[in-house]
Symmetry: C2
């Protein structure tokens, strides 16, 4: 069991209380699994109630036997005001809630239960706090990347000539689970349905999806139009493997390209440009570097090599080349032409400049980097060249 140090939990509580003080708020309620876990190191059905000073209270519905000194057991949120009054805590007039996460009805019910008239959003503040990782969190991300690499190294031995993209993905999923993947792949926001990751072979990499991932794919069901579509892996095509790095609660992200027998020269050329983009960004990125500069550096190299039409898709092209990673796979910062963020030491970021080549498939790599005082530390230490499956 991974537990959180008391010290870490207290520092995180203080960082939330500073937000409440700065915004002159009376309290906040946290109920999303990601933010509960970030603050406590476990999750429960209920509400973390935080005031500008003093300890947090955990109003717990389930499990009935949660062992924590801060726990107060409730059946429903309407009991909270009475319980606050019993311990002589004031009722909040100005309350922050995770309104990017909570449903409209859940928000209104909490508002009414706590008789508050002013609600503000704490979701984005919490995402900003979570953006800078602690030493313990970075250690988990590194461990996840280490296991991710072990699984990817097994891929050539999982391939059997004549198998479908889906069959290969299923064998990788099994290896992931045997290496400790929890299965569920956490993301933030709408339009982020995904199972255990994405494996795109050949022209399926061109299929546009409704989801906000770097690439699409047709999928095997109209209720999940993303990723592998069950087509047979063909000689001379490439496979982009971007399976989840969820071996620990704090995740890494990594993509690698494989080819079925020998890929055409253009595939190697574009793949090397992706590696060149990584190296170029690594040569200058450090705390203070703007995230838009990182995107634009990538785009310049793409333009110099006349690969714009294939960059991050063909018909539907993603307008980002990277994102933060942590408890959710899409954390800030995001790397777009107009990103406002700059790099800060302690961030964990995934960069994924990729190309989709019609008739061939997707190529390129994705690495996870930790932003250190000196620059980017690559933690996804897995062969970057295209690997031939045969």
């Amino acid at each position: 069991m991974i537990t959180m140090s008391n010290r870490e939990s207290i520092i995180k509580l203080k960082s939330i209380q500073n937000i409440l003080i700065n915004k002159q708020m009376d309290g906040c309620i946290i109920s999303s699994p990601a933010n509960q876990f970030w603050l406590c190191g476990f999750i429960f059905d209920g509400y973390i109630y935080i005031q500008p000073v003093g300890p947090a209270i955990l109003f717990v519905k389930r499990p009935f036997n949660l062992k924590d000194d801060r726990a107060v057991f409730i059946r429903k949120q309407e009991q909270i005001p009475e319980l606050l009054q019993e311990i002589k805590y004031p009722l909040p007039t100005r309350l922050m809630m995770e309104t990017d996460y909570l449903s409209y009805n859940a928000t209104i019910r909490l508002q009414k239960a706590l008789k508050t008239h002013e609600t503000d959003n704490i979701s984005s503040d919490l995402r900003n706090l979570r953006m800078i990782k602690t030493t313990e969190e970075l250690a988990q991300i590194k461990k996840s990347a280490e296991l991710h690499t072990k699984v990817y190294k097994r891929i050539p031995s999982l391939y059997i000539k004549g198998m479908t993209d889906l069959e290969l993905q299923i064998e990788i999923e099994r290896e992931m689970r045997l290496h400790g993947s929890i299965g569920i792949f956490r993301s933030f926001g709408e339009n982020m349905d995904i199972f255990m990751g994405s494996l795109l072979a050949g022209d399926n990499a061109q299929a546009a999806s409704p989801f906000d991932y770097a690439l699409g794919g047709e999928g095997i069901s109209p209720i999940l139009p993303l990723g592998a579509n069950g087509s047979i892996l063909k000689s001379g095509t490439t496979i982009m493997i971007d399976m989840a790095g969820n071996y620990r609660p704090y995740m890494d992200d990594m993509s690698r390209t494989f080819s079925i027998e020998q890929a055409p020269d253009t595939a190697y050329f574009a793949h090397e440009i992706s590696i060149k983009i990584h190296n170029s960004i690594k040569s200058f990125a450090k705390p203070g570097t703007s995230c838009s500069d990182i995107y634009n550096t990538a785009l310049e190299i793409v333009k110099e090599n006349n690969l714009e039409a294939y960059f991050m898709g063909t018909g539907q092209q993603a307008k980002f080349i990277g994102h933060g990673v942590g408890l959710e796979i899409n954390e800030p910062p995001v790397f777009t032409p107009r990103s406002k963020e700059t790099l800060v030491a302690g961030m964990a970021i995934a960069l994924e400049p990729k190309f989709v080549l019609p008739g061939i498939g997707a190529v390129g790599i994705e690495n996870t980097y930790i932003v250190n005082e000196n620059g980017l530390e690559n933690i996804t230490l897995c062969e970057e060249e295209m690997i031939i499956l045969k």
Copy 2:
């Protein structure tokens, strides 16, 4: 590719329009994957806009190439009023949205974009419409159950003496995927995190979880405290296997009990009581039967056999014995002591009276039934007796 008949789509549209007319609403917006799929047979990033009369409009963000006569492409929801005015549609004053599903911020943004001042919830109306399945939907649920049964029949051949609960689950997950499971397991509401289902061995079935499922389990990570916990399968204990029936967009639900070598007599006794509860309910349940009567029939049989302390858990006991199934695994009706619903022909329901026996494990079965004019039709046609693994 599973597609929906035009006729079915038109009937569903009319059923939503009747709600708008009855509630004197000007329009509604549907954006959740489950409800989009129910109405259209596909999903997209965007909004289905429905007025009391006339065809629906699909305001589509992604994919950019969605082929549908009703599609109007947008970049953001703020474009909707202008586009409505262009085609001479009035702006809605009274608008329904899926406020059980949409985040507070997403709801407010849509409210502002459409300049509407009155918002009502259409989530629960849609859940009620979806509760009665069409012939095409029931055919999918039956097909899913057929594949579910095929996978469960493979379980004895997947077991190897000395393996952990998790190792057995991983082999079942692989079989599920090879038989067409889409992986993602759709549920409704908060506190419903789950991966591909639940496998509970021995005393892990007693572990209380934060989630709203019939049973809990410790899980393998504090960020997903549910299900298998990695312990070795021990002789004389039972395994409750309740893996997802998501082989089609419309799902079935089925649990079966296995024992590692011979289980104690009490396990067989309680298991037979679960089967007896199913048979007893089947003997009288038909359209018009109240869902609370079904729960109370189960509870009476439990009491007659002095098994109350073990019914639906030990420390934390679930207060339901069944639920509807469909695009989400937890659809209405729900079978509790105070359910208001009655059975209606066309419902698909899962009944899961289970017992958790300390020192042994969970026993009992879960079947999915279709409510026909004459009664309940069992579609999970898989051996109901406890099966010995050795």
